[in-house]
């Protein structure tokens, strides 16, 4: 289902219609901004990114501010709010009107750290003006090691950024080369150190494993180095070959040979075990935190059906109930539609109860907390446990889950986490 698109007038007519006027529960919403620029595009990346000079960035920021303002007006429920280019809003009462506060701002991409400091300032100003932001909010910036300079670090802190996520990917120069990264291992190490010294609440490192040609030992070495630097948080992602990426094409032509399934499994288990021993707790398939408070507050929203509003090309949003929508993927399209006075929404989906349950199950099985039976019954009226007595027994027998009877949860073991997608498929969610 796509959002209705009227003919281009200056009216914003295409806010997604939501199903009710209140947000369920007290799940606080977050804000996401997609910055589609990188100095170079990595061969494995399937995000909406491009290389873009300062002019392009400047134009992008203008459109972004426009989008932010339009949504801000909508959220505040104001009848008419004019943005820079005279966009009016039309009142319809979406769930957002009851929103109190946003407690998370996340700048992702792309390489958000490639935005100039002025640009960043403009963006944050627009966000603060348009939305009520909680005082204790998390503000995350994704950054590449090459953008980590003393000046930038200080400026980022000043702008209110309190969580820095560094795209290190590896401490092995060969792997870095294959992954098309601009920095060396040494660059990465000094960047992490500098970031840690700059008093962010959380410094996180992103790493990629199961890279062709990477031995188990060299990966463990990277992990050791990562852990040795003592970041608050580490994300470890298995290299995934996505369609329409250079790696995909290379694979089709036989020039890129993926690591085999068994080895991928080995890497996964080795990673989890190593990090667990090093004191990093896996709270999700790919995310490890030293302390509970280091966990990604923003990402958690994706996993518990909290609402979030996304800006920029390809950004996704969710109303916390059952409506999802996402923006046009290409920068030009996104900007053009905004120019025409409409929200750059590419498509919307209206989820049924069944679909929401399916998502809940799939998302929670990826997390250490697992599935909350009572929560599901409360929210959806589905008695998941009684629908799956045999299946759960079998999963326990196979060592894939632990049923925490006391807390009424279904918790995946490490082996279960590794096959979380299949587990989700084997649970019955309807009584039909």
């Amino acid at each position: 289902m796509s959002a209705p698109s009227g003919h281009p007038t200056k009216r914003l007519t295409n806010f997604p219609q939501t199903t009710s006027s209140t947000i369920l529960s007290s799940r606080t919403p977050g804000l996401y901004v997609h910055v589609p620029f990188c100095s170079r595009v990595c061969p494995y990346c399937d995000f909406a990114v491009q290389t873009g000079g300062t002019e392009k960035q400047s134009a992008y920021v203008d459109s972004l501010v426009q989008e932010i303002r339009s949504w801000g007006a909508q959220v505040r429920g104001q009848g008419r709010a004019l943005g820079a280019s005279g966009i009016e809003t039309r009142q319809s009462v979406p769930a957002w009107s009851c929103v109190e506060l946003f407690d998370s701002v996340y700048l992702g991409g792309g390489t958000p750290s490639s935005l100039t400091l002025d640009a960043l300032e403009t963006v944050f100003a627009a966000l603060s003006e348009a939305f009520r932001l909680a005082a204790d909010r998390t503000v995350t910036l994704e950054a590449n090691p090459e953008d980590v300079t003393k000046v930038n670090l200080a400026a980022w802190r000043d702008l209110g950024i309190n969580r820095l996520s560094l795209g290190v990917q590896s401490f092995d120069n060969d792997a870095l080369c294959l992954l098309g990264r601009k920095h060396t291992s040494a660059d990465a190490i000094s960047a992490v150190r500098a970031a840690l010294a700059a008093a962010f609440d959380v410094v996180s490192i992103d790493l990629i494993y199961s890279v062709p040609g990477q031995s188990a030992d060299s990966w463990l070495l990277t992990l050791e180095q990562a852990v040795g630097l003592e970041p608050h948080h580490i994300s470890c992602y298995e290299l995934t070959v996505h369609e329409a990426t250079p790696f995909f094409d290379a694979r089709e032509h036989g020039q890129f040979v993926e690591v085999d399934e068994d080895t991928k499994a080995d890497f996964f288990f080795a990673t989890h075990r190593f990090l667990a021993e090093a004191g990093y707790f896996a709270y999700e398939v790919s995310n490890f935190a030293r302390e509970p408070e280091n966990r990604s507050h923003h990402n958690q929203k994706y996993w518990d059906h909290s609402p979030y509003l996304g800006f920029g090309p390809s950004a996704h949003s969710f109303d916390g109930e059952g409506v999802r929508w996402w923006n046009r993927r290409r920068l030009n399209d996104w900007a053009d539609v905004l120019d025409e006075g409409r929200l750059p929404i590419a498509d919307t989906e209206f989820l049924t109860c069944e679909q929401l349950v399916l998502e809940e199950v799939a998302l929670k099985l990826r997390t250490a907390a697992g599935i909350d039976f009572e929560g599901i019954e409360r929210r959806f009226g589905v008695e998941l446990e009684s629908l799956n007595v045999e299946v759960i027994k079998q999963l326990r027998r196979s060592g894939l889950v632990e049923a925490d009877a006391a807390a009424k949860r279904l918790v995946p073991t490490l082996e279960g986490l590794a096959v979380a997608d299949t587990l989700a498929a084997s649970l019955e969610i309807t009584s039909g």
């Binding site: 992602y237 298995e238 068994d262 499994a265 398939v285 994706y302 996704h316 196979s398 997608d421 299949t422």
Partner: protein, 600 residues
Amino acid sequence: MNKIRNFCVIAHIDHGKSTLADRLIQLCGGVSDREFQDQLLDTMDLERERGITIKSNTITLAYEAEDGETYTFNLIDTPGHVDFAHEVRRSLMSCEGALLLVDATQGVEAQTLANVYLALEQELEILPVINKIDMEAADVDRVLEEIDEELGLDPFEAIPVSAKVGEGIEELLEAIVKKLPAPKVDLEAPLKALVFDAEYNAYRGVVLFVRVVDGSISPGQTIRLMHNGAEYEVEEVGLLQLQQVKQKQLGSGSVGYVIAGIRTIDDIDIGDTITDATNPTTDPFAGYVEAKPVVFSSIFPVSNDDYEDLSRALDKLKLNDAALTFQKDASSALGFGFRCGFLGMLHLDVVQERLSREFDLSLLLTAPSVEFRVTTADRQTHIIENPSEYPDPAMIELAEEPYIKGSILMPDRYVGTVMELLREKRGADIKFNYLAAGRIDMTADLPLAEVLFDFYDRLKTITQGYGSFDYELLDYRPTDLAKVDIMVNGEKVDALAMLVHRDKSRARALHACKQLERTIPKQNFKIAIQGAIGRDIIARRTISAHRKDVTAKCYGGDVTRKRKLLEKQKEGKKRARAFGNVEVPQEAFLAVLRADPDES
């Protein structure tokens, strides 16, 4: 004196029967130039497309001969494929003569021989016709030699023609007048007519195609079908011209149609005798033996919802295809369907295509099988074609399978490879005859089961297209039969069980296991796939457990994608059947049931 000529055109496939028939029709003015359409008598799209004739079609033509008289030609166009020999025979019984068509570029082929024998059986006057003389590769002299030596016919009688360009046709027409005998006519004798074909028409009911031998038929007359004594009043009779043309009467010696209020094809017997109810003949034709199906396959609709549609479609097809047999079948893997009997692989192919095309059905077919004959210790004999009917092996005294006599005609340079093929297919009593012009006629006794699937195609491949094949059923011979069960983690999958010759059992079992290995997705535990005879495991493959499937990232945009994938997986599960704890998707069944069992 008698100006009727009843004849058919018989030949090997593709030697040009239909084109010749078109020419005869055209020259006899049966159709105006405007109406003329190539391959006129091949009325079905499928037939036209494949260049084959499936149904037998008859047409009555009027020929103005050189002697000034007008003759009535009743031309019966017959199917050429070995599967449809029974239709050829029925047509022959209505004729006095036969045009034996031989392609000048191909010469005498397996089915030419077969058809000659059929015609001689019926004591027809055979007129050899050499076709396609316009082609560069035509070698008329060689063909004349073959006609003489291989067919034992008089080469001087042979008429060279080119149906395509229209050469020699007039000579042929004259030869039909002069050389083929007229039918014996006796209008006074009690009615005796042969039903050589029938068709079901939604508006007119059953239309009988008859050859009136004695007496006559007219509207209002009460006729009796002698196979069951049922009586009907004749509504209409007529000639089979390009359209059915009403007549006042069909008299002795003629060929035409009869409509008599008969509701369904089941009420009639092809080969039956029609006589007058009040003055019946005392000399009916010997009852015609129904062609027996020899190849069996089960047909399932891809979607269970289409079952009713499939049932109706088969009923409709059967109206005009008496040889098609079917009965309800069920498989725990594939749901409800029908076990069908066919006259051969071509028949199976044609039926499947018609179901798919004319009725728009998506279907699954199981690999074809034959009927085995099994005698148990209590001296009972069972006919088995479904592995589930196989009795306890300990009780079996004797198992037999149907054999055929296959005959292959080919250039002698392929002898070696063809011999190998025959041996591979358990051929016995292999004999060969050197024929004219470097050709060999090879015969062998072969189990029908070995010939079913792809024998003809492989023969064509290894002889580079030059080999031709014909067969006839022989008898049942003892065989060493085994029932192979396929198991998945110890659970039997009944739909995949097979009855095979013991020598082939290991290869077939391994093949099935490999297909399953390829198509069953990994699950969270190891999966053992086994083929077994009784308790002996004869083949085995293992699918290792998958240890990791979870995707790396699950943020904003990933959730929708992940959910959609899950929805698809759940859909797939609905189409999978659980055997023990293993889920076997529909694709896996198809892979085993449809793959060529002799290709590893």
